[in-house]
């Protein structure tokens, strides 16, 4: 059993949960994730470790409640317990001193991006952060990211905060100027966003890294459910990733595989609504 130390709502259906998991806190590195199961009978859900406090023995998870199982997780209040937290899983992010980097986060991806951007800044990189969302209420961690970013640029689809449009518009501007063009780009967010970033940086050959979120069961390489095509080869996101060279990833296939249980999910959510008073 893993105690939920705190559970805050950061944005609509996006929670920040601090969980007591001392062994994970001690061994985790940026880019890694945990598999969480809220209770017996529930799904195993992979969640990126947003932050960790080794002294307190806690890890921070950012959870977007989009399906029945993630909703069950975020419904657990501070003082409650998650039945299972296993990790850290996946390969840590490869951090090097690139010089100038752009870190791009979309929606809940911004939370996943946070530890990575922090580690890149700590390694001496000039970090320009671009975060995007549907509207102002979906823009998260702006202040936290500002603490170590040279600049934090915001885009919203409805123009309620920052520039109206997508993160790619800001990235295109950075790339257009040789003085601001990044040496490496890290993009984490919805698949269409990551694909758009990859297509933007591809012609200039800018190293671009994305963190993938395929359907996953065990997280240890056993089931192969999280296979993604990278450079035409099947890779398991849980053991070979979750970060990959964006220019090699088959986003089409990833996007498609992510829809596998959409029918089931709709049925589950409907059921949940029916049982709620």
């Amino acid at each position: 059993m893993f105690e939920v130390v705190s559970n805050d709502v950061l944005a609509p259906s996006l929670h920040r949960m601090v969980v007591r998991a001392p062994r994970v806190a001690a061994s985790r590195k940026p880019g890694q994730f945990v598999i969480v199961r809220s209770a017996p009978g529930e799904e195993r859900i992979p969640l990126t470790i947003g932050d960790a406090d080794n002294a307190a023995g806690t890890i921070t998870l950012f959870i977007q409640a989009i399906g029945a199982s993630t909703r069950t997780i975020v419904a657990i209040p501070a003082g409650g317990f998650l039945r299972d937290v296993a990790g850290p899983l996946g390969l840590p992010t490869h951090i090097e001193a690139w010089g100038r980097v752009a870190c791009i986060g979309g929606g809940v991806g911004t939370a996943v991006l946070y530890p990575l951007a922090k580690a890149l800044a700590a390694a001496g990189n000039d970090v320009t952060t671009i975060i995007g969302g549907r509207a102002e209420s979906y823009i998260i961690l702006k202040d936290e990211l500002s603490a170590f970013s040279k600049e934090v640029l915001v885009t919203t689809e409805d123009g309620s905060m920052g520039r109206k449009g997508f993160v790619t518009a800001e990235l295109a501007d950075l790339m257009a100027n040789p003085d601001t063009c990044p040496k490496a780009v890290f993009a984490i967010g919805p698949v269409p966003m990551m694909r758009a970033v990859a297509e933007l940086t591809r012609p200039l050959g800018i190293t671009t890294v994305v963190s993938l979120n395929p359907i996953m069961i065990d997280g240890t390489g056993m089931c192969g459910g999280c296979r993604v095509l990278v450079g035409g080869e099947p890779k398991f996101a849980c053991v070979d990733g979750p970060e990959f060279d964006a220019h090699e990833v088959d986003f089409e296939n990833l996007f498609d595989r992510l829809s596998t249980y959409r029918g089931h999910e709709a049925a589950d959510c409907k059921l949940n609504r029916q049982v709620q008073p």
């Binding site: 799904e43 299972d84 069961i217 065990d218 240890t220 390489g221 089931c223 459910g225 596998t260």
Partner: protein, 468 residues
């Protein structure tokens, strides 16, 4: 006490038949197929054993169960006596009585099998183990020996790890099992379906180990949460038994389509997570109308029979050799056929096709014929030119085998591996690192529960020697 039976009387008894749930009923649920022998039948079957002086059956058993002895007690209606012998020799008798390939091990060596049918040793093991479970109070708890003060870490809670843990605890060592998944049993739980091995049986066997003082910590991934080096520092010895959990890809077009599963994923969803099996399970599974399972081993049989139970109209085995070469147990093949599974023999998959929406719709098959024997001694399947055809399939399960999972070994650079990534260990399970032992599938590649248990037992003996 009646007069002991003569050998002639014993030889006159016919082998017991295992009562089974009717195929029409069982193919629509997950209830256990084999129902177990009734007490009278078990005792009569035990009386068939002629108690050979030369105990060939024991030689055929990877864990060396004292077979004639436990059967002798059973024949004399001394059930507690039989249970104690069995439990002493075998950490998981109720599991072995259900999933061991007895026909190629103990029973294959049975003298009675030369001129007739072997004693049903597996049925008897199951009967005694089940009796022991129901009568645990009467048998009394095992008393562990005085503690040696030595501590052993066991990596993996599958058959090898559980067996080693039981042996080590009985030797007085402190044992902690680290399990990566959220529940115990390893492949016994995620791999073997409920209709062959009910989860309740695993729970009871695991509880028996806990009662012996074994600690089990789930959600600890050695190689990630803790490293081998950390375990080596904290414990006096380590036994690695983390299994062969890495699916082999088919490497055919369409493998990433929706509806295509590895056997591990398919079985894990249903067995471990309860998908499609338990009413309150949140994990989904694509059930499929036409399910094609590729492979001919026990895992393939487990998948195809699971598919039937999930409601598939057509559940098919696709195997590139003929039925004679299939590695699955004869009983599993028989059960599958009774349950309406179709067998597409001499058939190799060449591609998985889609109608363009990302979902698998059919399996393109290549007709094969048998050529010369290959390195495995089996006749090698070769394609029949021009003989390709498509079979409708909306769920395709790849059950062609697994490889060594690199998760632990990747963070243990000093540990010697072979070219397949398996840990190199000697006959006692000793690796190249002092105090580190390994066994089960991570050493031998995908094998059987009982071979893994045999490894666990041998390694435990070697660890006890190392610690003393």
């Amino acid at each position: 006490m009646t007069t002991p039976m003569t050998t002639k009387e014993r030889l006159a008894i016919d082998r017991a038949r295992m009562p089974e749930l009717a195929a029409t009923i069982r193919s629509a649920n997950f209830e256990e197929v084999n129902r177990g022998l009734a007490e009278d039948d078990a005792i009569r079957e035990a009386q068939r054993c002629i108690q050979c002086k030369n105990r060939q059956c024991v030689e055929g058993c990877p864990v060396g169960v004292s077979i004639p002895e436990f059967i002798g007690r059973l024949a004399d209606n001394d059930l507690p006596g039989a249970a104690r012998i069995l439990q002493h020799d075998n950490a998981l008798p109720a599991v072995c009585g259900r999933v061991c390939p007895q026909e190629t091990q103990c029973e294959a060596k049975c003298v009675r099998g030369i001129k007739g049918e072997a004693v049903a040793i597996g049925y008897l093991e199951r009967f005694v183990a089940d009796w022991a479970m129901k009568n645990a109070a009467r048998l009394g708890a095992e008393t562990p020996p005085p503690p040696t003060g030595k501590r052993v870490a066991v990596v993996g809670c599958g058959p090898a790890g559980l067996t080693a843990a039981g042996e080590l605890a009985r030797a007085g060592h402190g044992v902690v099992i680290f399990e990566a998944l959220h529940d115990t049993g390893g492949v016994l739980r995620y791999g073997i379906p409920e209709f062959r091995l009910p989860k309740a049986i695993i729970d009871v066997e695991v509880d028996r180990l806990r009662a012996l003082g074994v600690t089990i910590e789930c959600n600890v991934i050695v190689g990630k949460t803790l490293t081998l080096a950390q375990l080596r520092q904290e414990f006096d010895a380590v036994f690695i038994a983390n299994g062969a959990g890495l699916p082999t890809m088919l490497n055919i077009p369409g493998e990433n389509l929706k509806g295509v599963y590895s056997a591990n994923e398919y079985l894990t969803r249903v067995n471990l997570m309860g998908a499609g099996r338990l009413a309150d399970a949140s994990t989904p599974i694509i059930k499929g109308h036409n399910v094609a399972v590729i492979g001919g081993g026990n895992t393939a049989m487990d998948c195809v029979r699971t598919a039937r139970r999930l409601g598939a109209d057509r559940a098919m085995i696709v195997y590139r050799r003929s039925e004679a070469e299939m590695p699955a147990r004869v009983e599993e093949i028989k059960h599958a056929k009774e349950e309406g599974v179709e067998f597409l023999m001499l058939t190799a998959p060449v591609a998985i096709l889609s109608a363009g929406d990302g979902w698998a719709t059919s399996l393109r098959c290549q007709r094969m014929e048998l050529g010369e024997p290959d390195a495995s001694g089996r006749r090698k399947p070769v394609p029949v030119e021009g003989a390709q055809y498509d079979v409708p399939a909306d769920v395709i399960v790849n059950a062609v085998g697994t490889g060594a999972n690199p998760l632990l070994t990747a963070t243990a650079p000093d540990l010697a591996l072979n070219k397949w990534g398996n840990i190199v260990a000697d006959g006692n399970g000793l690796t190249n690192i002092e105090g580190v032992f390994a066994g089960g599938d991570i050493v031998r590649g995908g094998a059987t529960v009982i071979l893994a248990m045999g490894d666990g037992k041998q390694a435990a003996a070697a660890i006890s020697t190392f610690l003393s």
